[in-house]
Amino acid sequence: MVSTILPLKLENVELRRGGRRILGPISLNLSGQGITIIMGPNGSGKTSLLRAMHGLERVRRGKVSWQSDIQTARAQQAFVFQTPIVMRRRVVDCIAYPLLLTGAARSVARKAAVEQAASVGLLDSVDLPAEVLSGGEKQKMALARALIRRPEVLFLDEPCANLDTKSMAEIEAILTAARDAGTRIVMSTHNVGQARRLADDVLFLWDGYLHEQGTKAQFFTATQTAEAKAHINGDLIP
């Protein structure tokens, strides 16, 4: 899949809340293929960076620009939240919803949703109300919903937080499959092991700044900064 909306360019993006700087200024370029992992401690700005890229935050300072116009870019992205947002519908209708928004007929959307549900292992649950799913199943449902429009870029905000290793393995398999199908993935995680497994390249945030970045090999074997080293080693940073 050749991307029509990348590269994504952030120029001096800064986010403030209540007069306090929570992110940036950050400048970076996102292009190419694969999975970018955003790492960093709590409060370092991982979620804010993802939300700014996706357009969920109003960026008043700096600039976020895609190669394409903003409407095309918005239609070609999806976002998976740390806590899955569950619509009060059946699983199949939750997953089909993004297709309905783009004008697909209900029957067509439902059929696609069932296929998508099958690809994330939720085939047996499609007729249940989404609310009764377990935590891991809800996140898989959210992934299916995010992938059903075949986005060029998929953002995930700690999708495996609070999930056990089995669910985590299942979700990682779905993500790897999506990556291999050409979806550009940007994902934040706390889990260093998960970062090692999935990353093609890494962005390390510290206090709202882009503290270190590089390919997986560069980041994990030739770590530049003391903070990143401590984070990888799991040291308790004062």
């Binding site: 939240f81 947002i85 619509m87 009060r88 919803y97 928004l101 109300p129």
Partner: protein, 234 residues
């Protein structure tokens, strides 16, 4: 106590014999109040949702005003509608005064703020849940309101039923604009007021019990139709 028992007995008798007058005024009560509820829901539910998803300068004022309008005195509404629709009033040409139509109009004015306000409360919570997802999916404003109305339909039913409850029990406005004319605009509440005034407490009480039974029946019927409280949370 004696009056109440006699009222109950008379209510039973009226219902069992399907008294023609009773059937007529009960049907009219339903027609006016259900009509008003449907129209007020068509206005109030989308308005409540719209108010929940939009941020504009006067939003707080509008919400405060809407909440205040929930307490709109029916008698005053009736009076204003009467003046508007009376022969010499600006809308007098329609000749609607003392018809069921104008009774519906008066009740719509009374219950729309209630329905909109309760809908706004319910939708606001749902919107807090859905906000990021619907923004992320690049929805239009119309699509957001549609999704919120659909997924919040059980809570919105409560809003509509609250409106219906106010309408079916309302007497002040429809007495003024309808005039309680026999075989034309008489409904259960105005009939009760009339019979009480005449001193026929048993009949008044009988009509009262029918009114209460009617309100309960409509609520139950709607809950069954929409299967509220049946499957899990919604």
């Amino acid at each position: 106590m004696n009056d109440i028992l006699r009222g109950l007995a008379e209510a039973g008798q009226l219902v069992v014999t399907a008294d023609a007058d009773l059937v007529e005024i009960t049907a009219r009560s339903l027609q006016v109040s259900l009509g008003a509820t449907i129209i007020a829901s068509a206005i109030g539910l989308p308005f409540g949702a719209w108010l929940a998803v939009n941020r504009f300068r006067m939003r707080r004022t509008v919400i405060a005003l809407l909440n205040a309008l929930m307490g709109l005195p029916p008698v005053v509404v009736g009076l204003i509608v009467y003046v508007l629709f009376s022969r010499s009033g600006p809308l007098g040409v329609f000749g609607l005064l003392f018809t069921p139509t104008v009774m519906v109009i008066a009740q719509v004015i009374i219950i729309t703020p209630i329905i909109a306000s309760i809908a706004h409360q319910a939708i606001r919570e749902l919107w807090a849940d859905y906000h990021d997802l619907l923004i992320s999916l690049n929805t239009t404003r119309g699509q957001r309101i549609k999704a919120l109305l659909w997924d919040g339909r059980r809570a919105l039913l409560t809003a509509s039923l609250a409106g219906f409850g106010r309408a079916i029990g309302e007497v002040g406005a429809i007495m003024i604009v309808g005039g309680n004319i026999d075989h034309a605009t008489r409904v259960l509440t105005t009939a009760i007021a009339l019979e009480t005034g005449k001193g026929d407490f048993a009949l008044a009480l009988a009509l009262g019990f029918v009114l209460i039974a009617l309100a309960i029946a409509v609520n139950l019927a709607l809950h069954m139709l929409t299967r509220t409280e049946k499957d899990s949370r919604w």
